[in-house]
Subunit: 209 residues, 2 copies
Amino acid sequence: MTETITRDLRPRPRAEERPPKRAEASRQQILDVAASLFRARGYTETSLRDIGAQVGMKAGSLYYHFASKEELAAEVLRIGVQRVHEAVASAVAGLGPEAPMKARIEAAIAAHLETLLVESDYTSAHIRCFPYVPPSLKTELSQARRDYETVWRGLLDEASAAKALAPGIDPEVARLAILGALNWSLEWFDPARGRPEELIRTMVAAFTR
Amino acid sequence: MTETITRDLRPRPRAEERPPKRAEASRQQILDVAASLFRARGYTETSLRDIGAQVGMKAGSLYYHFASKEELAAEVLRIGVQRVHEAVASAVAGLGPEAPMKARIEAAIAAHLETLLVESDYTSAHIRCFPYVPPSLKTELSQARRDYETVWRGLLDEASAAKALAPGIDPEVARLAILGALNWSLEWFDPARGRPEELIRTMVAAFTR
DNA sequence: GTCTATAGCAAGATAGAC
DNA sequence: GTCTATCTTGCTATAGAC
């Protein structure tokens, strides 16, 4: 008898793993707005009041979903690096194992740039804010950043071994130069004035042969 | 008689143009410390209290020398762009009118990088902080930035006309790519691990022929 | 889940003593 | 010229009502 009652009152087994839809929707909306504002204004320049206002919430209410501003930023920036990592890895993999190195590098450049400039506020927020977030958050993100770096290192080392890089170019310096040029485009690229194709073409022409 | 007295009491003609040395020294020290902190931490992340502490002054005392944080930053960032402008222009001019385009571009890259990474906290503060300063300050700096841009535009247009750029490279896109790669080096370059020569060589190899 | 209200703090800036 | 003291504002974060 006790058994039956207990069973009836107990919440469903997966209760903690399946949060109600409303909370999940709010959380998602907060992340989206935070990514957009972090991208546009920067980490320190964006207040929880700003984020709340665009979500239609008071600043204090955000703490139901995130323990702190830093934790919210951690989630945004972590998603940002994961997205560009996945986009680049799958663009390169999608070419198949026989694709020439020049095509692989072009695909990686195009995917990074497309994700950064067009696809994802999360990725652009990561690129723009990372240098300015608290050190603890930098540490938290360092592994995911290294994982993404590894993709590029492998690509450029392979290209170098296959003589697919322009002559006299060290693959590690090329990696830093290419990603620097791409990331800096956040500061000047205007989506209203065209897509990133021109920059892609220029970078491929400069660094591959 | 009145005439004589008046003349005696009047401050020396150049009084306003020659401020006492002590004020000038303090002002200079404030600018140096501000440049260093803006470079290392960012504009918003640096407080007037931080600057005062390193100068050996209270935050309020800074207002004897500058009307506001924004005006202090304006002076730092203005000096920063002027310095890199002068360094690049004179490095290129120093090669003489007969120098090949490839050498001129290499000199410009080297001078920009050397000023940014080694020579001047003012320049690195400008590059790091500009995207995050108040809009009014951006407007105030826009002319000096355009003046510097003009140097690079002239250089790359000339190089393009002389067929000195690598094939398939548009000079305006090359300018944005080159300066992006150089400016982004602020985020990864470690002066303890060597000078910027490797990056200079890579950029010249990639963009010129 | 979101609100109101507020604690607690740090920022930029100002006034007047010295 | 610099200090002390303080004003005002805005921020992150918390507590408790609903």
